[in-house]
Amino acid sequence: MEKPKARDPQWREKEPSYKEVVARYPDLPATWILKADLQRRGLYYTEAATRKIDPAIHATNSDVATGFRENRDYVPEGLIWKDGSYLIANFDFDQKQPARDPYTIDVVNDRIVVVDEDEVLEEIEGFWEKPDFYDKKASNGEPLRKYVQARPQRLDISMNHYCHFWDEPGEGCKYCPLSPSYLAAGKKEERYDFRYVKEALTEAVKQKGRFSAIMLTGGSQLSGSELLDDELEGYLALLKIIGEIFDGDRVPTQLISSAFNERQLERLKNETKLLTYTTDIEVLNKEKFEWICPGKARHIGYDEWKRRLFAAVDIFGKGNVSSGVVLGVELAEGKGFTDEDEAFRAVTEEAESIISHGIALAANIWRPAPKSILQNGKAASLDYFVRTYREFDRLQHKYCPNPYTDDFRRCGAHVGLDLMRV
């Protein structure tokens, strides 16, 4: 595949460059800023870099269950940085007409490097390695990796591959490619049989030193006796399976789900060994949330979502609750902020109201994902992301929530949380 070209050839003249942003924030590591920009602009593998991928060693294109993937070429799941952190690099970049030129992953002097405008900016330690269980099969003959996916230190279980906020036209979250990808692929199987999830987990944890956490997530299910009860029952069943595999009262687990109410949260706490709970408020502004996440707004609402987050802290404890944020989508064209300074003020003020309750914010970088409603949009400037992450970090050091299930080594998707390492 040829390297894609930016839609706007003059884009570099319209915003601060990577090097200018590095110079502007000397208190932040340059390699970290580069990681953020890679997530913003995307990346492209040269043939030489692709030849460095060994399918006997590395994890490639294994997130078939989530349906997020846009790039079906032969690329690694992710990169490992020299500081041990990860870069999620496997899906949802615009490979046809990106807003900006992607970075190039190349090989120089036998080392894998990041290149931009013919300049080597950083050496990369390597690609994610696949776990031993990826080469094994479930009792039904299907590969175990179909049921559980692996990051370098985390096992991921995707319970529901479709999100029912998309049931009503126009109610899906505008940045999300999950359900559109599911529908475009003609998939029918929303859930896999949990028996095979158990087989995969049982096999995976035999590998010494490989995994330190399990994450469960999936599309929202609105059905049930009460809103979200069917989703709850699914997670309870999965968590009980996990509870059978591990000793102890609690297992290093993270559930990323819809915003459950107190009754539902109490059941999760009391009936399973779940340790941490995450529900993603996604957009740190009520008005923008209602535009970007209309289904969530109609069924639960911004204020109630936030209230349930706070209630979760009372149930799971301070440090055991976090919330995902799609940082930058508040600036999307349409009804988003039109000024980055205004967005910064609004978002950081709202962030403090959440972080001060002991809730870590796991913010990832919004880039328009193919098949999403906002696919033709343009991500914010690098300066915006760096400035906002820097303020989030100041707040998180002040209020000390623990972001560990979304940190640099368990998750790797939320580059801002890398700063909590020091």
Partner: protein
């Protein structure tokens, strides 16, 4: 970056499990932190390798900080026969996952059963000097002959 090579004598001193090894680092706010780290060794390339066994430790934070900004950390080795070496270096790599990491994970458990390896750091050397008192005292007499009390010299003529 560092490229200082160390003698076999110092490599042996660092790799000796009987040596006491302490690591000094600085936090993001400039606070000093000095702790014993028995898992410091020299790797095949002549760099310092250290196993961090506590993910939440202040040293883990500080060494990452040094890695990010190319800053130095310092190590002191005290051998069983009371020789002392000070080594300074810059962390260049933190290994937390993969097959190579898993070998170190099992090696750490051989050294300390029930330990849980958090990271393997590689530190390139920038400065090495012996800090044993007889050696430093001789250097002081050579380099700073005025730094001595006269009673030490009286009667020597």
């Amino acid at each position: 970056m560092g490229n200082v090579k160390i003698s076999q004598e110092i490599i042996d001193a660092i790799n000796d499990p009987g040596s006491i090894k302490v690591l000094a680092s600085i936090s993001r706010t400039g606070e000093l932190h000095v702790v014993p780290k028995g898992t410091i060794t020299v790797n095949e390339e002549g760099n310092i390798r250290y196993y961090e066994l506590l993910e939440g430790s202040q040293t883990n934070k500080n060494v990452t900080f040094a890695l990010w900004f190319g800053r130095k950390i310092a190590i002191n080795i005290i051998t069983p026969d009371r020789r002392s070496y000070q080594i300074k270096g810059i962390p260049v790599k933190s290994l937390v996952a993969g097959k190579e990491y898993q070998k170190h994970y099992e090696r750490a458990m051989e050294l300390i059963p029930d330990s849980d390896l958090a990271a393997v750091y590689e530190i390139e050397l920038t400065d090495v000097r012996e800090e044993s008192y007889p050696v430093r005292f001789a250097e002081e007499a050579r380099d700073n002959p005025l730094y001595i009390h006269l009673d030490k010299l009286a009667g020597q003529a």
